[in-house]
Subunit: 272 residues, 2 copies
């Protein structure tokens, strides 16, 4: 019996930071990634719309016989994790719960900052997840809408990035947080600038790293890990022409993506 | 017989800068605006995808009995104007041709700069339109992907905006352009910062203003102008929940939008 792959999706390239961490932790696993580039970004869209899109993508990936689904998109995790978990016969891992867990374990002052897109922040998904784990922890949030276009433009280490980070993050520091959750899959690319801005004494929680660890734990627990040894294969699908995804994606994955195929999700849409 | 309305669409709020200019020139006209907020932005999507979306929106607006369609989106104008003009029984006005015409009329040095989203710049639509009008004019282009999120964030007059403008525009100035086309409907909001950056001697061509003039000319030529006197009514439709559109849109229109309704374009999709 061939080993099944791990399915991963995001609205675009951002989820590649999560894929990168999964490959680091589980180099032997095959993966199938779908970037919904025809409909990116999700951060400005309503939870209803994002959930509809997520279910379409899950249907596409489940047909390719995956063993676990990673929702590598904070907006989709916030909006759709419940709907996906209810409907799918396989484990579903979002990026919010793992980040929240690490933040609660890390903070000493009991004050955690969360940064993300407007959609993620408005959903209060991290704040709710953190409060569920420890109601005593105070959560201070800040939407940073310009971080995504900065990461995609490759402006991750210039003066515009530093000034933008200062503008967004000054308030968080002043309010005494000692831990900040990077609540958007694009933000690991800005980790250095964010770290310099908030100072060494503030710990950054990278949801991508935590999510990869959670994936490994679940597969191990269910005895679904592929044995070590071989290198996994990685397949990429996008919903718009691949050129932009490949250009930005190579930077995100820190290497070269393999072949990227354009697909239509029309067959996955629910007809009224 | 009631006077028909002018139909306008954009991928999101950007086209409101065009609507604003149309209202300034033709205050008596009724308008119907559709912002495709569920699928914004178009700038990163392929011409095929954008054309499919544009045809769906045109079908929606034509059913509401408009007398003229304004494609108030540079990406959609570049990708879809031909397809729309072929299929629709009414005049269709894009934002590229009017901007190109004004640029050719304005330049003295024969060197015109064009700034826009990556999609618009990659399409070479402005360069082609300018060359059609005068093959002697040299066109120097620059994609400025961060200008859209800056305008939507309301960061139109701060240090991040100025630094971003300097980073994008220094090259254009050095290459001796005396005219720059604001080739994206969001950019009029950054007009002041852009103007300060390139200096007083460089003229900025605002496609929104030129498009409004073209609309007035066509309606006058066909005797379709509503007589002066009354104030026109303005209706707004969006394809995702209206909250974000209203918040950003009020800033774009420089006042208060009326009621904004969410609609589905599913009935306009071509079934295979």
């Amino acid at each position: 019996m061939p080993w099944k792959a791990i399915g991963i999706f995001d609205s675009g390239v951002g989820g590649l930071t999560v894929l990168k961490e999964i490959i680091k932790v589980l180099p032997q696993e095959d993966t199938i990634y779908l970037g919904d580039t025809a409909r990116v970004p999700y951060g400005t869209k309503s939870p209803e719309t994002v959930t509809r899109y997520s279910l379409e993508i899950a249907s596409f990936l489940v047909k390719r016989d995956i063993k676990l689904l990673v929702v590598a998109c904070n907006t989709a995790s916030a909006a759709s994790l419940e709907a996906l978990t209810e409907r799918l016969p396989i484990p579903v891992v979002g990026v919010i719960e793992p980040g929240a867990r690490r933040a609660v374990a890390t903070t000493r002052t009991g004050k955690v900052g969360v940064i993300g897109t407007e959609g993620t922040i408005r959903s209060s998904a991290y704040a709710k997840a953190i409060k569920r784990l420890n109601p005593e922890v105070e959560v201070i949030t800040r939407a940073c809408p310009l971080f995504v276009p900065l990461a995609e433009e490759g402006w991750t280490d210039n003066e515009v990035a530093r000034l933008t980070a200062r503008t967004y993050l000054a308030g968080l520091r002043e309010q005494g947080v000692d831990t900040i959750v990077l609540g958007c899959t694009h933000y690991p690319l800005l980790k250095r600038v964010i770290g310099e801005t908030v100072g060494e004494d503030v710990r950054l929680v990278d949801s991508a790293e935590e999510t990869a660890r959670t994936v490994a734990d679940i597969l191990r627990g269910r005895d679904l890990l592929r044995p070590d040894g071989e290198q996994g294969n990685h397949h990429f699908f996008v919903t718009d022409v691949p050129a932009g995804f490949i250009r930005v994606g190579n930077r995100f994955i820190g290497g070269r993506l393999g072949d990227v195929y354009q697909v239509s999700l029309d067959a996955e849409k629910e007809r009224p």
